[in-house]
Amino acid sequence: MIVIHGTKRIGALVIVAGVVLAACTGGTLSASPSTPPGAGSPASGGGGAAVANQLNGAGSTFIFPLLSKMGEAYNEQTGVRLNYQSIGSGGGIKAWTENTVDFGASDAFLQDSEIQAAAGKGEPVEIPATFGAVVVAYNLPGLTAPIRMTPDAIAGLFDGRITKWNDPVLSAANPGVTLPATDVSVVHRSDGSGTTSIFTTYLTSVSDEWVQKVGAGDGTKSAGKTVEWPTGLGASGNEGVTQGINQTEGGVGYIELAYALQNKIPFADVQNKSGAYVTPSLASVTAAANLPSYPSDLRFNLVNTEAADGYPITGTTWLIVYRDLSKVLGSKERASALVSFLWWAIHDGQSLAAPLYYGSLPDGLLKQDEAAVRSINWSGEGLLPTQ
């Protein structure tokens, strides 16, 4: 009797396992062929399945609050879901390069080496989508007004020259305020970050000491998504840095404005090129973002703005896709869905920016953005329904 029982038991197990496995995979695996590179036929693209009701993106934590709201609104309007993983600009660029997502989001435009790395799959199209402020947030209980900081002070804080909050460099810009003798505790990003890129590009353009200490004199090394930080602890994402500042008295770090406001963390008024101390806000961000003209390849820096009332540490987030989607996405429907979303993001989606303190696209830039989105094609065919 044992004999029959045992075999039946094992047989049952196998059948159950098989059923579970079949149910789980549901045959959808067969719908996502992955072809060897260079075979000439379309690769499986961002999501694998030919279904076009979910778009996958990854990248910047800087833009995450806005993209989150955009995704919700777009879903309500069109039924298409936006699955965005906030893993940092570096991660976004990598995912886009390896075609594991449909679009990447980065606060730093692509480096030549990154364009080179993606050349096998095609040419990139970088679409500026919004603007935001990188604020210098700090944790010093007891202060009633925001601290004023000169570019030199900021560089000194983050490269380790200034170790106590009552340092003369800081006190000089804040007459009448008694700064405490607390130790400075720097919190920076440990992941490849567009926010870091904006911040360090700013520091590189305003401080020779920064370039010396962090880049060994090389401006391309003292600015970027990752730099060799001389001091401080690292945290993951804007969220991690916010957390780090919040729980360490004397902490200082650089985060996007929305994160500081949502967590009620004080941030500094920064002295801009014209000499005025500017408070980061929608107005000062917009002033800094309003360039007389933008380069044709849409790659530009907004830091250290010339605008008299502009905030000097302003940044842009680019949405990055391949120009010829036939080489990287599984189906034309998916490509159309992606392009429709991008078109929506630079038009209707912009209305969601201001409540979150992100800057909207000025008219001049919008025209160039439209041209960029229109240039995205499927083997030469346009993908937008109209025009």
Partner: protein
């Protein structure tokens, strides 16, 4: 031993008794040190997570806009179950067969296989994640639940092989001899007698492997990636409980997302505990009933 006896033969003075009591006191202190974090974590999770718990929490997906209050963790719960289930479907048959192989073939070949299984057991889970990324994700061209399942299967495999081998070794002698006496073929002897006899032990081993896999985050970061929406498709990126917690629990920008992550942490710990308790209960029952 004579020297030791001489030491011990001194009359038990109050000083020595006091020292012994001190040591026992220290031992109790160490127990306290070990249990305080356990209680602290339980308290912390309950305090922060119980607020979001409800039947809806387990049956709804997170809202599309992560900052919105409400919603649940259905996608993560389902993803964990599906990926772990797939991992079991991969690892258990292979693990059982490898254990049987070792028991049958023996000799140098089995030693070699055991060594490799040992190496896999020693792999830090992040290294498993990298390996599976290189082989599965890059080949597929995208992140996927399948890659996550493979990573979990790799982590579970050594646990299953070792516990099954152990159970087969512990086959009661009367059963082992009966199998030989009956002259059953290899296949028959395993399928009909040896594995069923070791069944409850194997199930315990599988349960413990599952409880380990369910809590793993590192191997899923580069394979399943995560998904804010519900997806049952193993070909797409998939959400899992540890991933949801890792990505959202520190989200100071969105308290609603953080609350959901805390609730998810509570659910995850409860799940792992339940699996552990189940495994123990099966062992206890076996000791009682002998099956």
């Amino acid at each position: 031993m004579l020297a030791d006896a001489a030491l011990v033969l001194r009359p038990t003075s109050s000083a020595r008794r006091a020292r012994a009591r001190l040591v026992v006191g220290l031992a109790w202190l160490t127990l306290l040190i070990a249990l305080v974090p356990l209680v602290a974590i339980a308290g912390y999770l309950i305090a922060n997570g119980v607020g979001v718990l409800s039947p809806a929490f387990l049956l709804e997906d997170p809202p599309g806009d992560l900052s919105a209050v409400g919603g649940g963790i259905r996608n993560a719960l389902f993803g964990t179950i599906e990926m772990t289930g797939t991992a079991v479907a991969i690892a258990v048959p292979i693990g059982l067969l490898i254990a049987v192989f070792n028991a049958e073939i023996g000799g140098r070949l089995a030693v070699g296989v055991r060594f490799i299984v040992d190496v896999v057991a020693a792999l830090p889970s992040i290294v498993v994640g990298i390996f599976v990324y290189e082989v599965v994700v890059v080949a597929q061209g995208h992140f996927s639940g399948l890659a996550g399942s493979v990573a979990l299967a790799v982590i579970m495999l050594p646990l299953i092989v070792v516990s099954t081998e152990e159970m087969l070794r512990l086959t009661p002698r009367p059963v082992a001899e009966a199998v030989r006496a009956l002259g059953l073929s290899r296949w028959r002897s395993y399928a009909s007698v040896l594995i069923p006899t070791a069944f409850s032990g194997i199930v315990t081993g599988v349960l413990l492997a599952i409880s380990r896999a369910v809590g793993e985050t590192a191997p899923l970061i580069f394979t399943a990636l995560g998904n804010n929406f519900f997806s049952a498709d193993l070909g797409e990126p998939m959400q899992a409980l540890p991933l949801l917690i890792y990505r959202n629990a520190l989200n100071s920008a969105f308290p609603a997302a953080r609350d959901r992550a805390m609730g998810a942490a509570l659910v995850l710990v409860a799940l792992v505990l339940a699996l552990n308790v189940l495994g123990r209960w099966i062992v206890a029952r076996r000791q009682l009933t002998g099956r």
